[in-house]
């Protein structure tokens, strides 16, 4: 099927890897070229701030499949290779080295990059962002040096990346100071009550967390020596990690004339404004039928499943992609999972003891669950995902009662 055709994939991350695998699984017999600007085969990023940063798992454990799989699948890997431009009219790519490559269909899976912090000294050695394997390796070395040298790890941003870095560093015995500009952790994702419980967990583990505090600038002579905070305090540190969000890598698509708007604009099949160009993962602005609106997600699940759906669409076997967004984070022995992207909710229901280590919060709108966040309760969260999909009107009293199984509410 499709022999003689060339499908190119820009971006060898989770979406790029799943695109290549799905094309072969679905019987594509043409040429597949996978371009990645990192030296590694496609890998999963979530462990970079969790198991790999802790040293529990080697870097290779993040690889989607063993490196020799791509030979077996006859996928041409062009790693350490940056695509400089796309010419949709010619169905051609130009690489950074000037080489040109023709394609019949193209997948753009360029993901995103860490949002840079615009303060003085952010370019000093020892100031890191966390997006790639190379970042994790450098931060791990910084944590080890901080432990042996008795210095601090300084974290900017009380979001998922910042908190996972703080947990990983603290768990290994490093002193950690974290600043968050807002008055709560994970301000975009968690309720104040949930965030307060998460804050307490970090404080109990000995992280020095400063809310309502930002970084003014970094100082050092080539290498980081200290961070100066908005309140004037100085924190001595040789390693800092900045986790303040992500910027979608839309430039290639925009320069090629594709429609972009907070991401590459695609339809429910992952097709861009050019019928032969698709996109998947963190870089896409896509419609979500279940939510009834367009969204851009920074999510492991979306990177995988949107790519699988879009790869099928490249073969004209498209299935409309739409699922309830789902995220997770691991910090110490705490697993946090979130489902949905709740908007304008009018009621929050807590299920579980407010002081117990496991609970779930439901966010309701017009009597239906629009989203939920759970601590150490993945099972209830999964049933909640289904309750959201069914858009069933639920009884708040039943939701709040842990003795009523969600399975029963779902079936009832």
């Amino acid at each position: 099927m499709w022999s003689g055709k060339t499908f190119a994939i820009i971006g060898a991350g989770q979406s790029g890897g799943w695109t290549a695998k799905t094309l072969r699984d679905e019987g594509f017999e043409g040429r597949i070229i996978l371009f990645g600007d990192e030296p590694y085969p496609p890998y999963e990023r979530p462990p970079l701030s969790k198991e790999v940063l802790l040293g529990d798992q080697p870097v290779e454990s993040t690889y989607l499949w063993p490196e020799d799989s791509y030979d077996e699948w006859n996928v041409e890997m062009r790693l350490d290779t940056r695509v400089a431009s796309i010419s949709p009219a010619d169905h051609g790519l130009t690489l950074a080295n000037g080489e040109t490559v023709a394609y019949d269909k193209l997948m753009i899976a360029t993901g995103g990059r860490a949002r840079p912090l615009p303060v003085a000294g952010a370019d000093l050695d020892g100031v890191h962002y966390l997006r790639a394997i190379s970042d994790t390796v450098a931060i791990r070395a910084g944590i080890a040096a901080a432990i042996s040298g008795g210095s601090k790890i300084f974290v900017v941003g009380g979001g998922w990346i910042g908190l996972e870095v703080a947990a990983a560093a603290r768990k290994q015995g490093a002193d950690v100071t974290l600043v968050e500009a807002l008055d709560q952790l994970c301000g975009r994702a968690l309720t104040p009550e949930f965030a307060a419980r998460l804050l307490k967990i970090h404080l109990d583990h000995g992280v020095d967390i400063r809310l309502n505090t930002s970084i003014d600038h970094f100082e050092g002579d080539g290498a980081l020596a200290r961070a100066v905070l908005s309140d004037g305090e100085t924190i001595d540190c040789a390693t800092a990690v900045i986790g303040i969000g992500l910027i979608a890598n839309t430039e290639l698509a925009a320069d090629a004339g594709l429609e972009t708007d907070n991401g590459i604009v695609v339809d429910e099949f992952g097709r861009s404004s050019d019928p032969d160009i698709f996109a998947a993962g963190d870089v896409t602005n896509h419609p979500n039928e279940l939510l009834g609106r367009r969204i851009r997600l920074e999510s492991w699940e979306n990177a995988q499943n949107q790519a699988i759906a879009a790869a099928k669409a490249m073969l004209d076997k498209g299935e409309a992609y739409s699922e309830v967004p789902w995220f997770w984070s691991d910090q110490y022995d705490v697993n946090i999972q979130l489902v949905g992207l709740p908007e304008d909710c009018d009621q929050t229901i807590l299920r579980g003891d407010p002081d117990a280590p496991e609970f779930i919060e439901f966010y309701l709108k017009d009597g239906r669950i629009d989203g939920a966040a759970a601590m150490n309760n993945p099972r209830d969260l999964r049933f909640t995902k289904r309750l959201i999909q069914t858009q069933k009107v639920v009884d708040p009293a039943q939701l709040a009662d842990p003795s009523v199984k969600l399975q029963t509410i779902l079936k009832g």
Binding site: W18, L64, W65, W300, E301, Q304, N305, I308, W326, W328, P378, R379, R382, F383, R386, Q407
Partner: protein, 107 residues
């Protein structure tokens, strides 16, 4: 040639329909499932990452891993959705009265 040794691991009364439970047999984690009154057993630990499938979500004959949402067919152990690609081992189950017995190779 290994023999199958049956172990009494749970009671049928302790497992509602479409529920699963983790049991230990010689230190090995096994998941026991109740699908509409028929019982099945597979390895309990997901082949993709470390998670107990007994904490997962059963839909039809699929068990969905609670960690990343990958699925396996409970009857065959076959990995059915991403990110799972390696199948689970399955084990024979016998019911004696209210006892659920699972057959584990004894080599």
């Amino acid at each position: 040639m290994s023999d199958i040794e049956f172990h009494n691991v749970a009671k049928t009364t302790s497992l509602d329909e479409d529920e699963a439970v983790q049991v230990l047999v010689n230190g090995q984690e096994i998941a026991i499932y109740n699908l509409d009154g028929t019982y099945y057993a597979t390895d309990d630990i997901c082949t993709h990452a470390y998670a107990s499938l007994a904490d997962g979500y059963i839909e039809g004959t699929n068990i969905e891993c609670p960690l990343h949402g990958g699925c396996f067919d409970i009857k065959t152990g076959k990995a059915t959705t991403a990110p799972c690609t390696v199948d689970l081992k399955t084990y024979e189950v016998k019911i004696e009265g209210e006892d659920i017995l699972v057959g584990i190779p004894s080599d």
